[in-house]
Amino acid sequence: MAGGTQQLVAWFHRKGWRDIIVAVPYVWLVTFFLLPFFIVVAMSLARRADLSPPIAFLESWPYVRFSNFARLFEDSLYIRAYLTSIWNAAIATFFCLLIGYPMALGITRVSKTWRNVLLMLVILPFWTSFLLRVYAWMGLLGSNSWFNKGLTAIINALLPGDIVLKSLPMMNSNFAVVLVMVYSYLPFMILPLYANLEKLDFTLNEAAMDLGSRPWQVFKDVTLPLSLPGIIAGGLLVFIPASGELIIPTLVGDARDPMIGRVISDEFASARDWPMASTVAVALLFMLVVPTMVYSYFENRAQHAGEAGK
């Protein structure tokens, strides 16, 4: 008995602990991530049926069919949803960059104490509930809110006298979706940008200024090119989750012009068309593969550059 235990201990020291450390998370991810993923792929090749679960494969060779994918192109609902998603996500990413870049740069230019305070203020909304932050905007966008009334008053003052708006139709529109997306994902843009900008050598800026560059030129020629990795990282961290977003379009979006996340969820839950929901999901993943590969390419390059610099 004691010999057996000792053997076990010896095996454990020689190799066993290593195998366990690799195998346990491996098996977990294969079972609960890879397997479900394959189920979705398989289901996208099946057809809807009145069974439980509501799917069926073809009874003879080749058992699978690709007509679900053909439907993606036949029904304009899907193409429009993809375009709306990409468009909304792209505009949100652009505005996150536009607002986030000067903020990140500003944080690097203040004293160390202020820096910590400001970073904390950026991270704070990131830790608080995503759902509640979207909800907070629902209170502002509605036509009775002080925010909507205030904006309406400003716009009425700017417009020529004969046109008077009662309120702005902001709720349930793509405008609201983009606005709330910018709001929710802004920390994802600021933090990688800050991490990148913080490492830049300020003496380069001083050198450029000594050589007679104006501040704008220094920014354009020195800071901006050097911060490109941060821009790409931040941009993808905003774009990828934004394009598959479900909560924001459901709460503040236009139901007649849905984003792809909503289409997947509706096909699945309301229409009970699992194969079609899976097909739309697989197509969305294909669409996200390209930006993801761009991201990992730049990530790897940044890592190698970091290692070479050591």
Binding site: I21, V22, F33, G106, N116, V122, L186, S265, A281
Partner: protein, 279 residues
């Protein structure tokens, strides 16, 4: 000479106003007497009182905390193992696929993760009779799966920036690999493990989409309860609930931040003192 960056500072002011005005407005209207959530009708704390009498909300809070504690702890264990495997074991069979599996959940849209999990659970129920119903267990499994990869990323990056010479020194002094792991590596990466646990906890307690798909009757977590309420519109009692949640999280984050900053300052001072003592 460095000029005051007026443009950048005004951008910062605008940005932080953008961050905080919606939240402050929501907090303000949680003290609204009127039933109309966006029209001011006088000061009142009645909505707070009603929250604490609401058993449904209290049960949902309990369930959320239970799921978050369980899933964060298990996700931290699994995620740390994966992080050690990726950072320290140069070669093992299936390493490429493993690193892919660890990053993929981070990019996968939540809708797809949720639906694919649900399909798996439904298929498993048919094949092996488990899980017979969805609720605590299925939600916890789903949360572990996608939050463990965040832990892995944190632990892995901490391990790759750690000085490998300490481990080699321990080995040279005759420590077995297991001993090195428990006595050297784990203590060094413990801040990363703690940060990973916190992140996993927050992700779990905040999650709507994946929970929505993997939960069943009786498995209403707090975000799911709020989700079903906010779909119907803005109400003062949700404002009150949101205010409480945001206050708790805010105080927690600020306190943790201050503690960490103090610990950093102390460590820096200790290092300086050690250097001074040696000189």
């Amino acid at each position: 000479m460095r000029r005051r960056p007026i443009f950048l500072i005004s951008c910062l002011c605008f940005g932080f106003a953008f961050f905080y005005v919606p939240i402050l407005s929501m907090i303000f209207f949680s003290f609204n007497k009127s039933r109309l959530a966006t029209v001011w009708g006088g000061f009142s704390t009645q909505w707070y009182g009603k929250l604490f009498q609401n058993d449904q909300i209290m049960n949902a809070v309990m369930l959320s905390v239970k799921i978050a504690l369980t899933s964060a702890t298990l996700a931290t264990i699994l995620g740390t193992m994966a992080g050690i495997a990726l950072a320290r074991f140069r070669k093992f069979r299936g390493r490429t696929m493993f690193s892919g599996l660890v990053t993929a959940p981070l990019i996968m849209p939540e809708v797809i993760t949720g639906i694919s999990m649900l399909m798996l659970f439904l298929m498993m129920a048919q094949w092996i009779g488990w899980p017979s119903s969805r609720g605590f267990t299925t939600v916890t499994i789903a949360h572990i799966t996608f939050s463990m990869t965040y832990v892995t990323t944190i632990v892995q990056s901490r391990l790759s920036s750690m000085d490998i010479a300490i481990e080699e020194a321990a080995m040279d002094l005759g420590a077995r690999p297991w001993r090195v792991l428990t006595d050297v590596t784990l203590p060094v990466i413990s801040p990363a493990i703690m940060a990973g646990w916190l992140l996993a906890f927050t992700i779990s307690i905040d999650d709507v989409v994946i929970t929505y798909f993997t939960t069943g009757p009786g498995g209403t977590t707090l975000p799911i309860l709020i989700w079903s309420k906010v779909k119907l519109g803005v109400t003062p009692d949700v404002n009150a609930l949101a205010t409480i949640i945001i206050t708790i999280v805010g105080v927690g984050v600020v306190a943790t931040g201050i503690l960490m900053q103090r610990a950093d300052a102390r460590r820096e001072r200790d290092i300086q003192m050690a250097v001074a003592a040696n000189a």
